[in-house]
């Protein structure tokens, strides 16, 4: 089977502080992988390198056969907008927009016409049990509702890879599990590859497999190891 996205021997430092010391991971198309690790282990840094948000000091990031690490900022920005989706710990919704406009945002940024973008966005409200909330502002939503809106925004453009960084970290246990259930169901329906960063084993248990990051390296017992 071909690999959807891969990091090879990635090194990254924040100034003098090393965060990744030769991390490697390969993820299959449609696979849901949880990256686990303690605070400061480098797990979020690895996600940001895979997503083209950070550029490694050395090593390679490969997506669909192309070297992400050697792309220009404009190329990486285009990649993130057109082929990747994102969900972060705090939904990071745009407060001035309605929830429907927030969900439609990736489509609008990619050039989809407004009516078509909103039509697709509305479809996700029903899918994620958010009917009736389309015209609300993010400030009028509960934490769980806001995170489901963020999930819809991450998936609305049909990304090939969804990057989720502690997507349930700000939610209570029950709400967090509802969000994970929706995330996994939607990703499987779309065949979306998911890279999930979490320090919570019960969240990681929704993934197909887990890898752990320790001291900037990946320990993947069932697969390749760095």
């Amino acid at each position: 089977m071909t690999i959807a996205i891969e990091a090879r021997d990635v090194v990254f430092s924040f100034g003098q502080t090393p965060a990744l010391r030769g991390a490697s991971i390969a993820v299959d198309p449609g696979e849901i992988v949880a990256i686990m690790g303690a605070s400061g282990s480098g797990k979020s840094t690895l996600l940001h390198c895979l997503a083209g948000i950070l550029v490694p000091d050395s090593g390679e990031i490969l997506f669909d056969g192309a070297r992400v690490d050697s792309m220009t900022e404009a190329q990486r920005s285009s990649l993130r907008r057109d082929r990747f989706g994102f969900v972060f710990q705090f939904g990071q919704l745009v407060p001035e927009l309605t929830t429907a406009e927030n969900v439609a945002l990736p489509l609008l940024l990619s050039g989809t016409r407004r009516a078509e973008a909103l039509r697709k966005a509305y479809g996700w409200f029903e899918r994620l049990g958010l009917e009736g909330l389309e015209q609300r502002r993010p400030g009028e939503l509960s934490g769980g509702q806001a995170q489901r809106v963020a999930l819809a925004r991450g998936l609305v453009a049909g990304p090939e890879v969804l990057f989720a960084d502690e997507p349930t970290g700000a939610l209570d246990s029950l709400t967090g599990e509802q969000v994970m259930d929706l995330l996994v169901t939607a990703a499987r329906e779309q065949g979306t590859t998911v890279i999930l960063v979490t320090h919570e084993p019960r969240v990681a248990a929704y993934a197909d497999r887990e890898v752990s990051v320790r001291d900037g390296r990946v320990n993947a017992p069932d697969r390749i190891a760095s």
Partner: protein
């Protein structure tokens, strides 16, 4: 707690007498519940009968403490298999995990790798329970949650122990 395997593990470190084995067992694994002498010697007798230990000498004066027990290749293999195989992930296995980690450190084995293996086994079981929860009734979900929360507690203990292995190694090898 498996008394036979724990005694075998202690013998894998060095040959020993029954009295010393009991003293070490009580110090590390007894936790306020000392191993009765009778159980020590009956266990050692069964291990000898099964070819997992041999008695090297019987000193003058008779008495069980004159016997020195040495682990055999069969016994050492059993200890090795026990240490390297993850424990069946289920609630309340802490005492077994604890014994494995302490013995692995005493025997200079890769305790961190054993913990990694156990972590994988736990997460695999958690994935199975999560699938049951997602596809089953509310009653199934509640039962699965009970298992998930206990396994999560074990995992937190595994993480904490993994972070303290160096200090723990010094403590058990003094």
């Amino acid at each position: 707690m498996s008394v036979p395997l724990t005694l075998l593990g202690l013998l894998d470190r060095e040959p020993s007498h029954g009295y010393d084995l009991k003293r070490e067992y009580d110090a590390y694994f007894g936790r306020g519940k000392p191993l009765p002498f009778g159980q020590v010697y009956s266990t050692l007798s069964r291990l000898a009968r099964d070819g997992k230990v041999v008695i090297s000498e019987v000193g003058p004066g008779e008495g069980p403490d004159r016997k020195r027990y040495i682990i055999t290749d069969l016994g050492a293999t059993e200890v090795e298999q026990w240490l390297t195989q993850p424990v069946e992930p289920e609630p309340h296995l802490q005492t077994v995990l604890f014994a494995k980690v302490v013995l692995a450190l005493m025997l200079d084995r890769p305790a961190g790798e054993y913990l990694d293996t156990q972590r994988s086994a736990h997460l695999q079981r958690m994935r199975e329970l999560t699938e049951i929860k997602r596809g089953g009734s509310l009653v199934d979900a509640l039962l699965a949650d009970h298992g998930l929360y206990h396994l999560e507690a074990d995992l937190r203990w595994i993480e904490m122990t993994g972070a303290r292995l160096d200090a723990l190694k010094k403590a058990v090898r003094q």
